[in-house]
């Protein structure tokens, strides 16, 4: 982290409204409200999907009908009326675009406000961006460069059209549609998302990055991401989200699946900054996400890094199935809750292969009236001899009206494996704050500094460009939480 950037970040701490709370005025084509088989057929038809996918959606839907919302999380979730949601929305007139000039100017304006102008991204930073605007991908950049290496990076819909065999082979192989209530819902109605395939032996030369954005009022967003790293390949993938300010709650139930074959490595980083609701807990996104990676081949590695500051309610447990011998799973997380936000998040590490290793570093920060829970499962199967897990779950409290909880589940079926779990809870001490103040640093800046220091272990896992954004978010999202 450059010091200069750090300082810019701290300067921004003084701005207090949710920065990205604007709404883009673009004509949308939307389906009727509600969910039934006809709607699913409509979505599938609109997207010109092959038969197998429609079948998949319908199976998922039928399964979903038999399921119940999970109620075990430490969350208070208001009842959700699934018939009051629009399951399909796409910017009108979606034709193939060959240059940015053809993109709706309003849309470009939105990206500009977010500071993620595609042009800039393309020209300056060397980051390939698949910008998902609401449900349909608008523009994929850099795909030509990537193509030369045989890398496929496109919207999920495009992958369905152009690489149906890959989609068919891997979709649902890590997160089956019946995995949980929200995964089933997603599998039935998913709109779009990203698809990525790295061929054998290819090290992806750029950070792949996707910006998600929820835009149409009352539209649930059901992203589907599938990432396949073939033998000996490497990719670093970044996902970032901002959403416009809304009064109604918006449901988001995404599914992310990663497959790492023999000797492959995937780094998946997320900065999540969806509208958290106002100071009184009104509005905000419900973020119910299923993210899972499968270390399928031996010596493969999947690493999740997340910085979660947004959403009214977060229900999210990115994990790894360590199937291949000697495979490695990692989870680094900073979760911030302020005001009335609730988060129940953590990781699941399932050790199946021999000599598998996993690391969980979780840093929870709670302020205001919020509730922040870590929930983690470490399961070591009988076959997974000589496996190791190290978990460290720290909670930092700001103020005394918020809550922090830790729910570790450990399940070991062999004696040659070692599982270590450490947990701490701390507060920002008044002495630390005064020390900073005495050096001329005011309370808000001091909190920004201290919190970023506390989360450093996780932040340093992020790619540079993301780390900056993340630091900023940490400070901004804790504004007004003390004093």
């Amino acid at each position: 982290m450059k010091e200069e950037e750090q300082n810019n970040i701290l300067d921004e701490v003084t701005q207090s409204d949710y920065k990205y709370g604007f709404v883009t005025d673009i004509e949308m084509e939307t389906a009727a409200k509600g969910l039934n088989e006809d709607i699913i057929r409509y979505i599938s038809m609109k997207k010109n999907e092959p038969e197998f996918l429609l079948e998949y959606r319908l199976r998922a839907y039928r399964k979903w009908l038999t399921m119940k919302e999970p109620d075990w999380a430490h969350l208070k979730i208001p009842p959700i009326d699934y018939q009051d949601i629009i399951y399909y929305a796409a910017p009108k007139e979606k034709k193939e675009l060959s240059s940015l000039d053809e993109v709706d100017p309003e849309l470009l304006e939105t990206f500009n406000k977010l500071g993620i102008s595609l042009e800039e991204q393309k020209r300056l930073s060397g980051v390939a961006v698949d910008a998902v605007f609401d449900s349909v991908s608008v523009k994929t950049t850099f795909s030509e460069t990537l193509e030369k290496q045989g890398i496929i990076f496109c919207s999920f819909s495009e992958a369905v059209q152009n690489h149906p065999e890959l989609v068919k082979k891997y979709m649902g192989s890590v997160v089956p549609y019946g995995d949980n209530y929200f995964a089933a819902l997603n599998s039935a109605v998913f709109s779009d998302g990203s698809f990525c395939y790295i061929p054998k032996g290819v090290k992806c030369p750029v950070e792949l990055s996707t910006y998600f954005r929820i835009n149409t009022a009352g539209t649930g967003q059901f992203e589907r991401t599938l990432l396949i790293a073939d033998e000996g390949s490497y990719v670093s993938y970044m996902e970032g989200c901002t959403a416009p300010q809304r009064d109604e709650n918006q449901l988001h139930a995404a599914v992310v699946e990663i497959v790492a074959l023999k000797d492959a490595e995937v780094k998946y980083s997320t900065v999540q900054n969806w509208y958290p609701g106002d100071k009184d807990g009104k509005g905000g996104i419900y973020n119910f996400v299923t993210k899972r990676g499968m270390c399928k081949g031996s010596h493969s590695k999947i690493s999740w890094t997340q910085v979660e500051t947004g959403s009214a309610i977060t229900w999210k447990y990115p994990g790894c199935i360590l199937l291949g011998d000697n495979s490695v799973g990692e989870f680094y997380s900073v979760a911030v809750t302020n005001n009335h936000q609730q988060a129940d998040t953590g990781s699941k590490m399932i050790h199946i292969g021999k000599n598998t290793k996993s690391t969980i570093i979780s840093k929870g920060i709670s302020a205001g009236f919020s509730n922040n829970s870590y929930r983690g499962l470490v399961k070591i199967s009988k076959r997974a001899e000589n496996s190791r897990n190290y978990s460290q779950c720290d909670s930092l409290l700001l103020g005394d009206k918020c809550g922090a909880h830790t729910f570790p589940y450990i399940n070991t079926a062999n004696s040659s494996s070692i599982v270590e779990h450490e947990a701490t809870t701390s507060k920002i001490s008044e002495d630390q704050l005064f020390y900073c103040q005495q050096r001329g640093i005011d309370t808000e800046n001091a909190i920004g500094l201290i919190v970023n220091g506390y989360a450093k272990e996780v932040l340093k896992q992020l790619p540079m460009e993301f780390a900056v954004e993340a630091q900023k978010l940490l400070s901004v999202s804790l504004e007004g939480s003390v004093g």
Partner: protein
């Protein structure tokens, strides 16, 4: 520069300072001595604006202004520096980042642009040399895992970086070996100008061999009960505080 009048301070209902008077002028060095628990750190904290104290009476005039209502960071920006008796650790925050933030906040207050990375690093190097603190310490997190003596040196380093008008050093000599003591004293002396003033709180006359004070005050039972020149420290070293207690209870 600093004028404290009839200051009475309590914490959690317990009165600590009971009508304290003190005047410090530009260019002067004052030493404050006194038995444990008589309120020396309390005085330092109150001048710096630490929250939690209740000012029952009196005023603190600094550069002609009553600063009791001034937030602590503004007092710092106005040039008050406190070298802490027990410096706190801030895990994960690098000294570089911490000092850079502090310096730029000071600059902002003065209406100056932030310092460039290059300029800042140059300043760091220069001041490291001045106070003979090793660069490896300033590359670490703020005070984290520093030894007692290293923490104290780090306070002087920060003072050198911020160039305060009024420095209050609360037992900066405690826990220092003789070489470190000389280094710290040396640092303080180098930073001394006609324009700034220093208050050193100490238990040991030996520090005053290196930082020669213009005045020595004895703080006892929340009040300054005796003031004198640097000879007073020698008398205290020899006789302890008993005779003052007797004198002041007369």
């Amino acid at each position: 520069m600093l004028k404290i009048k009839d200051l009475q301070v309590s914490i959690n209902g317990k009165t600590i300072l009971r009508g304290l008077n003190l005047e410090v002028n530009k260019g002067e060095v004052h030493a404050i001595m006194g038995p444990n628990g008589t309120g020396k750190s309390t005085l330092a904290n109150v001048i710096a604006g630490k929250p939690g104290y209740h000012i029952d009476k009196g005023e603190i005039i600094y550069k002609g202004k009553n600063i009791l209502e001034m937030p602590p960071e503004v007092r710092a920006q106005e040039g008050i520096f406190l070298g802490f008796q027990y410096p706190v650790e801030i895990p994960g925050v690098s000294m570089t980042n911490f000092m850079r933030t502090a310096i730029n906040e000071h600059r902002k207050y003065k209406g100056l642009d932030p310092m460039s990375a290059g300029e800042f690093l140059k300043l760091m190097k220069e001041k490291q040399k001045l106070v003979e603190i090793q660069a490896k310490l300033t590359n670490r997190s703020v005070n984290e895992g520093f030894s007692g003596g290293e923490k104290k040196k780090n306070e002087i380093f920060q003072m050198a970086m911020l160039e305060p008008n009024l420095a209050i050093l609360d037992e900066t000599d405690s826990g220092l070996d003789i070489d470190a003591l000389k280094i710290v004293a040396n640092g303080v002396n180098k930073l001394r100008t006609k324009e700034n003033a220093t208050i050193v709180i100490t238990h040991y006359q030996r520090l005053l061999d290196y930082i020669v004070p213009d005045f020595v005050h004895v703080l006892f039972d929340g009040k300054i009960v005796k003031s004198g020149g640097k000879e007073l420290a020698l008398v205290l070293e020899e006789k302890g505080y008993e005779w003052i207690k007797d004198e002041s209870s007369k």
